[in-house]
Symmetry: C2
Subunit: 325 residues, 2 copies
Amino acid sequence: MPEKLKEYTEIINQYIAAIDLKRNPSELYMPVQYCLGEGGKRVRPLMALLACNMFDGEIDNILSPAVGMEIFHNFTLMHDDIMDEAPLRRGKPSVFKKWNSNTAILSGDVMFAMAIEQIGKTPVRYLKPVLDLFNKTVIEVCEGQQFDMNFEILDKVTEESYINMIRLKTAVLPAACLKAGAIVAGASEKEAQLIYDFGENVGIAFQIKDDWLDIFGDEETFGKKSGGDIIANKKTWLYIKAFEMANESQLRDLRNAFTNRIFNPDEKISMVKNVYLQLKLDRLALEKMEDFNKKAFGYLDKISVAEKKKKLLRELAQNLIERKI
Amino acid sequence: MPEKLKEYTEIINQYIAAIDLKRNPSELYMPVQYCLGEGGKRVRPLMALLACNMFDGEIDNILSPAVGMEIFHNFTLMHDDIMDEAPLRRGKPSVFKKWNSNTAILSGDVMFAMAIEQIGKTPVRYLKPVLDLFNKTVIEVCEGQQFDMNFEILDKVTEESYINMIRLKTAVLPAACLKAGAIVAGASEKEAQLIYDFGENVGIAFQIKDDWLDIFGDEETFGKKSGGDIIANKKTWLYIKAFEMANESQLRDLRNAFTNRIFNPDEKISMVKNVYLQLKLDRLALEKMEDFNKKAFGYLDKISVAEKKKKLLRELAQNLIERKI
């Protein structure tokens, strides 16, 4: 991460480290500490700080809502891991694996409460718009998770509904962080909306890249085992487009693989990957990502602040999409 | 319920009925509708409205935060039922039984979000104090639930820590509802605190009565099967005091019963109930309840508004403790 971005991340980490989590009952707060403590890249609060800075706001005004959004994000991870039965999170056992499901439910709930507590510390003249934005966003994130769960049992998912799902599940939160930064910096509603739209499109691009990396990424660089989405029959952008574009014989291969008639995981991955490559989905996915990326930067371009003010945000978004962060 | 209280409940029910829950994804909102729809006595929002009224506030100013508190309460029930594996709620299958645990987690989360959404509709000049009160309260409620879960595996629980647990888990939410009513009516901090203290003590009295009813209540009147707490080895006020006061032979009976060396449920209940009666715990529990009750009304007495203004709140609290509601 570039030096300047690191400085902002440090400010966020210091703020988070100062939150008292050595509280009673320790059974409730230890998992919170475990989850919030380290390993998070703090991308969302970083976006909030950078947006605030871009509009010449005071960093002190955005710190608590930014951290509130980060705590909320970590809460969603804690609950999602229960629902997805995910054993690992950031290379460590997930809370529900390390403790149990009840602990992950209740410690998650208290994190949600702690998130609102931080939102509540927004300077009072910005409290109402920031709280409204937060509320709209958390409801959308829940809706996104539900759509994602629905997709598991749906036969057919359209590209449009997939994009809408990742928008809700992944993209609206960073978008809201950016907008919160704009709000507390006193930006106009129009400018605040532009930075929101920028974030939403960066978020969608990021998720499509994430789908791409799972199968075409370098396992050593990205730490995840390649093909996890295929093993889990996850309806990613690649999956959806493959079924849409496949010819008879490719369809047969996809169906054989995804209905688990192929039992060997490596064989399953290679069978699906082959079809993806035949359909040039590796290239098409990156083009799709680039579309959203361009759209995102189009919104950023429209914001009337000096170009040098946008530099860090551009850098962060570029790093995110190139997954250097 | 007295006529006038019914009118207020009707206002609350109408407000709740007007919340749009026919939203997508329906898998997320149907359990919310199921849980919020009917059967709730709306005691907490009723308290908020009555307190607001007592301090000559506008009912319109308290409706949304009052309903926010009610939605939050229902959220806690949805998550608690997962943790406690409770199959029934208000005589119907609990959400996690009717659907599944993941549904109850996520629909619960969106209810929490909807609760804050309603809090966010508090008139802006009261938003900050009401939100701060809400945040403090929801964190305490989570702590109370954790203490309750801790008690399950603790050998010894003191009366003091039990009272603190029910204060957090049960009493602070009605107290906060009352205080929110006072805040939006523009009451002084001192008066708002008095009504909070009233509510907290009513809440504790109510819970001790609840413990009492489980074993000494009339099954037909109260709908619950007598002795459920005994079957579940729940560390209620009666349980804790019994172990504190029992002689050698009574201790032996309690230990035999609670370590499940007695397998027949009716035999287990009658064995424990016998010890409770020998120790006069049926009477002592009601006295304890009465202590908190008196303390509660002491706070109410100190509030300097005309006695007739307090009438409905007195009526509600009395009904609650006598469990006519």
